[in-house]
Symmetry: C2
Subunit: 227 residues, 2 copies
């Protein structure tokens, strides 16, 4: 469905580029973009797929992950409000294949732009070019920092970081299973269990079925900054 007034406003809040661009482009954008909602757990884009539209996320989040043959998986990055799937963008523009899987983590709403418009605006609008390149550049930087994490960081540090990210840095309980943490970080459930047990032993967290209580956020933060 095309954009109503309220959705236009939300889009312009999430994507400041739409406020800074020329009125001509903005009108064109709003006349072509479609509004869509995607329930949690949907497969947005799968390995090797050719993408037909660019999703610009307004609410919810999408996890882009890579899965190994043995079932282990790792999160490459997340697409959150104000973001967009650049891999999709790259694939649209370069015609190449999508090298990972994207799955909505929560109910997600987005503005969808058909592929032909994505390329057309690339020629027509300075703001749109800057927007897309900004996305790609940020994404590349994010994936590179993922490489750094995986290659150099100790697993307890990575678990601590992830817990803090989940809790927004505040104290309290986080609802998450050991398996979910393992999938996020690209390791196995047993390793996460072991590390959480150690953290519990040291009083940094408390453990319950499907939840982790952050007890000493200061210590967790210190741990997460090690090395």
């Amino acid at each position: 469905m095309p954009l109503d007034q309220a959705t236009r406003a939300r889009a312009e809040t999430a994507f400041p580029m739409l406020a800074d661009c020329t009125p001509a482009f903005r009108d064109d954008f709003h006349s072509r973009a479609m509004y869509g909602e995607i329930p949690a757990g949907s497969l947005v884009c799968s390995e090797g797929q050719i993408c037909g539209a660019l999703a610009m996320v307004l609410c919810g989040s999408v996890r882009v992950r890579k899965t190994a043959e043995n079932g282990r998986e790792i999160t490459l990055y997340r697409i959150e409000p104000g973001d967009s799937c650049v891999l999709t963008a790259s694939c649209i523009i370069s015609g190449s294949l999508f090298p990972a899987r994207a799955i909505t983590e929560s109910d997600t709403c987005a503005v969808m732009v058909p592929a032909p418009d994505v390329t057309r605006w690339l020629a027509a609008s300075e703001a749109w070019r800057a927007f897309l390149f900004g996305l790609v550049s940020r994404r590349l930087t994010q994936v590179i920092s993922t490489v750094e994490e995986v290659a150099f960081r100790r697993m307890d540090v990575r678990v601590a970081r992830h817990l803090l990210r989940l809790s927004d840095g505040s104290s309290g309980a986080v609802r998450v299973t050991h398996q979910e943490i393992a999938s996020e970080l690209g390791t196995s459930r047993e390793v996460v269990s072991r590390i959480l047990k150690d953290l519990e032993h040291d009083g940094l967290v408390g453990l319950g079925r499907g939840e982790v209580q952050l007890k000493a956020v200061g210590d967790l933060d210190r741990l997460s900054r090690r090395d």
Copy 2:
């Protein structure tokens, strides 16, 4: 120095985009681009630097790597003839900082494009847009596959792959130190030494100071495809 006739030809061979584009753009490109040579071992771009020009490589190669606090390092990807440093490109266009270090591995020659022209052509030339997005897309895919390697692949498999890459898949000796392999793969010298000793024991390779002889390329290839 600006491009002479021979260099123009080399550039068009390495970058087919220059042959497929409009004559107007091609002329513009050749009038603005500069030819440059960079000796092996030069630091092309360092962490956090703002890039002033886009290098399009004609010969030689550039290794882009990330270094950890403890000195370990890993190769993110290589820029080889026909490639260009997209991180540079992204940084130019989005004005962000370069998140890694790029060092020439061998004497490298390249065509340099000043940053203002990079953005100007982005508006003016369809071929240039397709070229840049293609680069970025490929690069993102490469870095993602690096994540996959690091997160999921066994180290002996990765060492075998790297040796085969170095030798172009043929038999014979490769001049490389254990430390160099370790830096390439993001591990430590001791681990590489241990794995090479095992490979030697199994008759897959022979070892000498600063060199590895590939003795059973078939077996190495089989190992490199495991999992």
